[in-house]
Symmetry: none
Amino acid sequence: MARTVNEEKRLERRKRILEEAVILFAENGYSNTTTALIAKNIGVTSGTIFQYFPNKEALFHAAVLEPLEDIQKKSLALLQQNGTPAELLKNMVKDQFDHIYFYTNELRLVQSVLGQRIRFPELTQKVLDSIKVMTDKIESVYAEGQSMREFNPGFSPAMISRSYISFLNGVALTLGEDIVHHPEWENLKAHAYYLFAPVQHSKN
Amino acid sequence: MARTVNEEKRLERRKRILEEAVILFAENGYSNTTTALIAKNIGVTSGTIFQYFPNKEALFHAAVLEPLEDIQKKSLALLQQNGTPAELLKNMVKDQFDHIYFYTNELRLVQSVLGQRIRFPELTQKVLDSIKVMTDKIESVYAEGQSMREFNPGFSPAMISRSYISFLNGVALTLGEDIVHHPEWENLKAHAYYLFAPVQHSKN
Amino acid sequence: MARTVNEEKRLERRKRILEEAVILFAENGYSNTTTALIAKNIGVTSGTIFQYFPNKEALFHAAVLEPLEDIQKKSLALLQQNGTPAELLKNMVKDQFDHIYFYTNELRLVQSVLGQRIRFPELTQKVLDSIKVMTDKIESVYAEGQSMREFNPGFSPAMISRSYISFLNGVALTLGEDIVHHPEWENLKAHAYYLFAPVQHSKN
Amino acid sequence: MARTVNEEKRLERRKRILEEAVILFAENGYSNTTTALIAKNIGVTSGTIFQYFPNKEALFHAAVLEPLEDIQKKSLALLQQNGTPAELLKNMVKDQFDHIYFYTNELRLVQSVLGQRIRFPELTQKVLDSIKVMTDKIESVYAEGQSMREFNPGFSPAMISRSYISFLNGVALTLGEDIVHHPEWENLKAHAYYLFAPVQHSKN
DNA sequence: TATGAATGAGTTTTCATTCAT
DNA sequence: CATGAATGAAAACTCATTCAT
């Protein structure tokens, strides 16, 4: 039991380090973020970081992958619920775009990895794998939706799911602090769903 | 005349440095690209770089902005030609996606800047300004197309142009070497134009 | 208490760096003294210097100003003691010239700054300010001595104090290792006091 | 004859380089003065300097020694004229202090060498030799003046001449642009001569 | 476990000097 | 002779990482 308390403390501190790392890596890039600054920002000294992560690169890996998995998990869960494919996808889009600002740092981190594939090859692979899990799921839900005539059957599910992920990333990338409060924002969100080419029954 | 020869040589070499810088910065990121490596890759010694650029950051700025301007100029020219708005935009989309692989490095460079706004504030501003010129132009062409009933009049031109640019960037970001030769690629290109919500008169 | 031990260690090491810096800067000049050499001479590695001084220039500033202040303080204290102005000034001259060899490096450092005013403008100003404190004090003591008929009343105290400081600096500048042990040395010291134009009552 | 014209041109340009070198070395120090700047300031390109001086150090040597010799020559000439020792020395002091501002750069250069003896050992030696020629001459003139009862016979000529040179250097060192136009300046000049301890016959 | 001083390899940048034109 | 591009050695400074306390 005493162990557990210590264990909890350790996890708590590890989490704090990771949180700060996500912010700083996302804002300043990998190389321009010093481990000393991360340490300072959370009120520990430089050596402490290395009690929790073997080196800076491992910390970066964790900062990129762990939040990505959380986000994925959440989105996958949304697609596992009850509802028609169209409802599920609409729901997922809404959720992702509603939280896009909240996850900006995490998404930028992912993007920065994709922008430096040669430098971080294994990490890139893991990120792409993680994204693939997502697109695969979207693909299968979409295909089912097509068979139910909820979506235009003329499009390839693989292409559609890629398009959506690209769009999501592109929006996050060009996202500024001002945009989510911009009057156009709601329309942009709607347009994300439009990418799926839903069949509009009685919209006309 | 003698001057012109030297001037040409200088420009030629400057161009070579810039080309190599684009490749390396895009592949490895700013901090992980050493000026010495750029020099080595083009067959000069470390000091030579600094005969052409005052420092590494200036080289980075040039590597980001100069190609961006070239790309923009080309795209803007396409929108200035004769043709209906729909034709012009279709043309532009085709051109940009046909060359996306050719410009992957340049686009990634732009993306890496946007991903590190705090670190490169002025450069970020210039990039955003440059992008705005593009979206503004697309907006006006699109609005004209709407008035000509070529595009669905229910969408805001500002949102549409943003969406397209986001999509373009998102695709470039998640683009792998394999994708452009993938059977899905042609469909993805078509989907980019679909974002503009063209009215399909008698296409069926 | 534990803190105090560390603090003391830090101060001790800082002092060692400064001592070595004074020697090397004075002997080789600012630019020709490498931080690596300073480090090596005191048995640490290159990076350690920068744990104690933010950069080379700051180290130089400290190496110039801190000893200067020590010397000033000591001399000012001498002028604050009991005694007639003539006694005080004679005392000060004796002390300064007795220690001139001990402080040669420190004085040369000050001189090298004055010889590069354009390069070290703020430092020059601080040095001049520091010197002014000294000359002002000498001036006032001298003026009092004049009113007491200890000094020739025909001279301007401002000029006299400047002359003395110039002489002191000039001697330090042209001082060689051999001079202080030279038979002429005692006479030179006496001549420094002669600059004050003391009235020789019944010395003969 | 054609040769002579070229020869003159060379000498002229060499002189221009030297003039500029004196200014820049004096103002910024040896290391902080780049050969490229010297070249630029006189309107030639970087390589040209090395057509006239084998390397930077040789240029520095020339910039230090040549003006020093000129100044020495002039002062020695003054001491070779007709007149009593007192007249000659008074004359020399007047001349040197009248021109001290004119020669500030040259004097500072000499001082900067003396301040970096370990770095410029041969140059230091030459400078000290050159100064010795001067002090020797002053010494002999002074000794003659003592024998003629123009100067206080109680002082050692060697000490007196050293004192004067030290004073001259000290004044030049602490000299600011403002001082030569300062009301105290004339008194300071007079005090320089006072160092020689002249016997004031009927001044009272 | 946390600390934080020391390390030292690595990077940018400068600049005297060379040499082909 | 003058040019000025290229060189490459040298120096300041950074920072992840270690380790004695």
